[in-house]
């Protein structure tokens, strides 16, 4: 964590800072997804949709309704929460692959809707001129200021999530993951908690989406497709699902990997695929699982 704060002092290159900004945005989503998947045991292959709803609500409200970013940002959160709640009720009754398909379907429906409602969203070509976030007279425009804003939010969200994990509700979520039957028998209202954590993770994604819209100032459906949903899930699983730190680790890795692979031109897709494959085959618990294993081995000797 300290390293994170110190990093921009050492690294002044705006390009690298830009990568770190995206890493922060993705981290916001993957932390939420880790609560949903790793703790409550519910998969979502449609979280790009909540990212999109956050981004489009912020974008549309600030450009077309001329709201300032902060109220638009709150409106985005409320809207995302409502949609996640309504979608969550029927969806989270499903299990396993059915849940995977339903969330995937939801994500695709939102994606198609963004493409199709041209008047509203600009269709496939999207829309631009989204204003930047301003705090008083200070406009969040430089990569450094973006970096500070996004990572401050990541730290807040992380603290919230750690609080949640070590609480009565967090325990209830983990009990659902382990045995829904027994959780119910212990008086845990499994559907209520599943929906709560689903909505929470959607809100995290919405926050990330709003930031994205104001940082990039231009949005189009291409950034919110199925591939992005899958990338998010992959970050969580590769890092290690059993832990929010794992999700962060996975996000760091999968944001940096394409940058390292840039030199390989078209071969990047092959190297990317093989890296994923190797990690999953040799570290089924994810990177964090490996870290933990090394630590216990080290502790024993």
């Amino acid at each position: 964590m300290l390293g994170l704060v110190a990093l921009p002092m050492v690294m002044r290159n705006p390009y690298y800072l830009g990568i770190m900004v995206f890493m922060g945005i993705y981290s916001l989503i993957s932390i939420g997804l880790s609560l949903l998947m790793g703790y409550a045991g519910q998969i979502s292959l449609g979280h790009a949709a909540f990212f999109a709803i956050g981004a489009y609500t912020s974008g549309i409200l600030t450009t077309k309704a001329h709201l300032s970013p902060l109220p638009a940002f709150l409106a985005a959160i409320v809207l995302t929460a409502c949609i996640a709640f309504l979608i969550g009720i029927p969806t989270l009754r499903l299990k396993g692959h059915y849940l995977a398909m339903a969330t995937l379907g939801f994500g695709q429906i939102v994606y198609v809707a963004l493409n199709a409602s041209v008047d509203f969203t600009g269709g496939p070509s999207g829309f631009g001129e989204i204003p930047r976030i301003a705090l008083g007279n200070f406009v969040v425009e430089s990569q450094l200021s973006r970096y500070c804003l996004v990572w401050a939010l990541v730290i807040i969200v992380l603290l919230f999530s750690l609080n949640l994990i070590h609480s009565r509700v967090g325990r209830a979520l983990r009990s659902i993951h382990s045995s829904e039957l027994a959780a119910n028998a212990m008086g845990v209202n499994t559907s209520k908690y599943k929906i709560q954590v689903f909505v929470l993770s959607a809100i995290y994604a919405s926050i990330a989406g709003s930031l994205y819209a104001h940082f990039v100032t231009f949005i189009s459906p291409g950034s919110f497709d199925l591939e992005f949903s899958i990338l998010l899930v992959t970050m969580v699983v590769v890092g290690g699902m059993a832990n929010v730190w794992g999700a962060l680790l996975g996000t760091v890795l999968l944001t940096l990997l394409p940058e390292f692979l840039r030199g390989f031109k078209d071969y990047d897709i092959l190297i990317y695929g093989s890296t994923l494959l190797l990690i999953m085959i040799f570290m089924p618990e994810g990177l964090f699982g490996l870290v933990k294993k090394l630590r216990t081995v080290h502790g024993k000797t």
Binding site: R174, A183, N184, T190
Partner: protein, 257 residues
Amino acid sequence: MEPILETINLTKRFGGLVAVSDVSLKVETGEIKAIIGPNGAGKTTIFNAITGVDPPTAGEIRLKGRKINGLKPYEIASQGISRTFQNVELFDNMSVLENVMVGRHPRTFSGLLSALFHLPKSIAEEKAIRDDAMERLAFVGLSSSAQELASKLPFGQQRVLELARAWATDPKLLLLDEPAAGLNSHEATVLADLILKIREKGTTILLVEHDMELVMDISDKILVVNYGKKIAEDKPEEIQDNQEVIKAYLGEDFKER
């Protein structure tokens, strides 16, 4: 006095199969009642009906006179019926202590928001939950493994932990589904003592069990089911001599001899 649990003409059909047929039973406050019967007689089905896991096709279930069928499993648990499972359903990914802490769930209140903001109320409650769970672990003799993963416990202790977890919900009625299955005779004795001790603390107990020694030792009343029907209900010593029961267990041939 009003019985703690009463079922009236409880019936459960799976398609054409009648697993439980018109079973009426009463469990009085403070007693230990056992349900016995040959395999497939419908014992676990009765449990699943009572706890709302598989609601009955017909009939009524009352807890302290209040109808509870139609309620969801978690609601029934909150109302005061807790249970263990035939095939031990522990939270494998959690520590022994955390398992019992989940048991405190229906008696505690902190929600999502107070958890997120780490409010003092929720901190205090969390400490109370932990202390209570530790006490219960001490009571059942598992304090020393509190931090271990539940799945790492020997099987006998897993059964004890499951019992402790169910008891942690402060149930009015505790349902135990074959608590001694898979235990050796020493472990079964330990468990029997524990069940008696938990009853002394004021919990009524209904159990399904095949271990006749254990059933005869601890039960006040025994209910015998066969082919989904109640065929006898009596004190242990009477049940042992009941012709109907002997027939159900040992078959026609035995009686004729």
